[in-house]
């Protein structure tokens, strides 16, 4: 039963990775990264529950903390990068999204 849950979680992981690969804008990819992190945490928790080992749960914790720090930094730097462009925003809004 737990193996079926693992397979389903891996399938979800794969679909989240597809959003990371094809997302049209950077922020789509970032939300995909967040989804991948949560799915990996769930996989680790299930793995620990199968093996009946408690120290594997530390990994879930450190994954949560490190993934969150990395994602927040990427968001900060992205909003900084495009702020100047937003002020000069005129008719070229379409090319903005293509440039990403």
């Amino acid at each position: 039963m737990m193996n079926i849950i693992l397979i389903v979680l891996f399938a979800y992981l794969f679909f989240s990775m597809i959003r990371v690969a094809i997302g049209p804008s950077v922020w789509d990819r970032l939300s995909g990264l967040n989804l991948v992190t949560t799915k990996i945490i769930l996989v680790i928790v299930i793995f620990a529950s199968i093996n009946e080992t408690t120290y594997l749960l530390d990994f879930a914790m450190i994954y949560a903390l490190s993934g969150f720090i990395g994602t927040i930094f990427i968001t900060l730097f992205l909003s900084n990068r495009n702020r100047r462009k937003l002020e000069e925003f005129k008719e070229d809004a379409e090319t903005e999204q293509e440039n990403e």
């Binding site: 039963m1 679909f15 939300s31 879930a60 968001t75 495009n82 809004a93 379409e94």
Partner: protein, 105 residues
């Protein structure tokens, strides 16, 4: 008996996450649509899933750690969603409706 109840709760969490995956795989929608649908439902799925695991292991050290991770995820997952949406709003993401409005002006 307790084991079957826990599997049922975990299956419910998996179903919630399935809706989240369906939400993020919408090709013709905006980014805000996908973010709204996915990240809320994903948090609900995590909570349900961890409650199921806690039921499976009873009152033990494992359950205590699970509750700790649940609290961390409950704090951090909405924060990440908030930061991503905020960065998209401040960083110049333009949705389709907004684009058409600006063209009409």
């Amino acid at each position: 008996m307790l084991e079957y109840i826990s599997f049922a709760i975990m299956g419910l969490g998996l179903i919630f996450m399935f809706f989240g995956i369906v939400g993020i795989m919408q090709p013709n929608k905006d980014f805000y649509y996908r973010l709204l649908v996915t990240c809320k439902i994903d948090t609900v799925g995590i909570i349900t899933f961890f409650i199921g695991l806690a039921v499976r292991h009873g009152i033990s050290f494992f359950t205590g750690k699970i509750v700790l991770i649940l609290i961390i995820m409950l704090i951090l997952n909405p924060l990440v969603t908030h930061m991503v949406a905020r960065s998209a709003y401040r960083g110049g993401y333009v949705s389709k409706d907004e684009l058409e409005k600006r063209k009409l002006r």
